[in-house]
Symmetry: C3
Subunit: 273 residues, 3 copies
Amino acid sequence: MNTRTLDQIRAASPLVHCITNYVTVNDVANVLLAIGARPIMADDSEEVEEITALCAGLCLNIGTLNARTIPSMIAAGKRARVLGHPVVLDPVGAGASALRTATALRILDEVRPALIRGNISEIRTLAVGSGATQGVDASAADAVTEENLMASADALRTFAARTGAVVAVTGAIDLVTNGSDCYAIRNGRAEMARVTGTGCQLSALLAAALAAVPSDPLAAAAETVALMGAAGEIAWVQMGECDGNATYRTRIIDAVYCLTDEELAARMNIMKL
Amino acid sequence: MNTRTLDQIRAASPLVHCITNYVTVNDVANVLLAIGARPIMADDSEEVEEITALCAGLCLNIGTLNARTIPSMIAAGKRARVLGHPVVLDPVGAGASALRTATALRILDEVRPALIRGNISEIRTLAVGSGATQGVDASAADAVTEENLMASADALRTFAARTGAVVAVTGAIDLVTNGSDCYAIRNGRAEMARVTGTGCQLSALLAAALAAVPSDPLAAAAETVALMGAAGEIAWVQMGECDGNATYRTRIIDAVYCLTDEELAARMNIMKL
Amino acid sequence: MNTRTLDQIRAASPLVHCITNYVTVNDVANVLLAIGARPIMADDSEEVEEITALCAGLCLNIGTLNARTIPSMIAAGKRARVLGHPVVLDPVGAGASALRTATALRILDEVRPALIRGNISEIRTLAVGSGATQGVDASAADAVTEENLMASADALRTFAARTGAVVAVTGAIDLVTNGSDCYAIRNGRAEMARVTGTGCQLSALLAAALAAVPSDPLAAAAETVALMGAAGEIAWVQMGECDGNATYRTRIIDAVYCLTDEELAARMNIMKL
């Protein structure tokens, strides 16, 4: 598989509307600029429909959801859906509070996003009502492993088919499925979990990818998941002895900025299950 | 022209109140510290008048405006105005939504800021009601070029005269005018647009500059616009092969921190039109 | 004193709930990850009690407090208190507005935090009603110096005894007391004040420390204050000629990430008064 997603994002330079958390929002904006897309953050209910109409894709991230922004997410999501724009849902912390779980389920139901990206505990919470979410991190008990890979893929296929969305679960092994085909991706490094927001960044990049490659959302999603992992691998190689997670954070975005489609193709480790 | 704005900011170390967006707020705080000013962010309507009274300048940035913060901006702006503190308006995304345009116009009308800084599409939206704003970016159709420079300057002079504000438009060529004199500034690099928030940072620095150099806001503004561009130039020279926009972001703020008035004077490319 | 706080935080990997300001929130999340703890930010009143129940500690930071988040802080704080979780209060800007002072005092009264960390002007505002807070910075008039050290310590002892909290005042000399014992800490560098949020980061680390070392909050707090200073010292050594406060920001978090308990023990400059 190579739909040259990276080149297509750079060629299209999609404007991506993000209603996202304030923890990682700066990195989300910079990683969108790094890949060649253009971010706009707007979350007031009075303007979100108008803003999303200007854009090519929408990313809804519930990381710091609140009573003011939840209606904005729903309104922007519905409008984007009517306009045929891809909507990505990042259900940050689903399972950690009733509000997060209910809001994510409500977005699934009312917006019907084109793609859902989360860790396995968040996705299990939405799929079967019982992920062992640990704050905003996945539980080890839920992890996708080589041993449970096929069973995990089947569970995700069922969830994808039911929601009509591409589902992307990220962890040590990433899985991306549209309900029939499923890809396992083995890129990235465990140390990426020590940088806040690499998942948020990926979700925003997925919105850019689906906007730029409307013909094949599954392939675009799988390649973008691999791209984020590849950026983490490249960035890690550049780490010096005194570097920690703050430098790693910078280097990952830099790696997205500098990445070529050829380099990505050489690194991508995507296997069809 | 050299009013030694940088040295004056460092000598005065003005406290600058920012009601700003949550995307770039950390960089805004750090660039104010880099230049020798001191930031304070406060946006609750119950405290903004008291906070702004403690400060020497106010920066109003509508990048993530909302129903809660718009009244805070108006209240703080009016209070600062009464106290004779310079108010800078950064009309982020004016033209991208009715809410943004209306809020920026309302601030112009009710607060009468000392300075307005935006990209050309934002400023055209406020000046003539028809900028082709692309999300938070300027449209190429609106760009200030060598060809339309004098006509652009005249249009901005008219807007500056009407609002009573210094108007600073930043892009490939920057223009700064108080309605009579107009300066064209050719500093900076195109890659600065790949870092989110360089405009937001400049707006906050302009509030610091006007607070520190009350006798000559036009010169202080022109020099500060040149300073931000010079920082972008210096930072670019330090970029390595694997560096991208995240490292550039860090290096730009570092360049402001390390910049001397002599270095700035040598780099400033300010021409009176 | 060496309770091996750093090793204990890494072993426990406590989940820390932060209701914090949007200026420095990303650094707060990354420094918690750097030390081996896990952050979760959540501030909607509908979910904060549930979120804090999942966590081992809570950090309340009023840096950008507002009408929506103040009730969330109170609710989360009370719930954490009932559950026996350590609550840290960072009264950012207490003294700069009536809202900040009143909110900090209300949290002291209704939540009874386990630890209060601030600069001397903020703490004096809460202790005696008259700190000369300059925005979010301490006033030179209030500074803890070698000359007034014993008197400052006594004033803080009184405040700590009255509130039942460990009190940590940071500045050129840091003081940490539980009302009887008091430690003076001489780590850190003055340049840390040029990076926004090093205080916010320390407050979050203190919540992690108290969660990981419940048996000795005073020692855990003193060591964590020294740890943050040591990180600032180590980071400073790595600064190059063109580096400024933005690189220093990154290097400080990196230093926390790379720090060993042995290195910390060698650098800690903690003296019992």
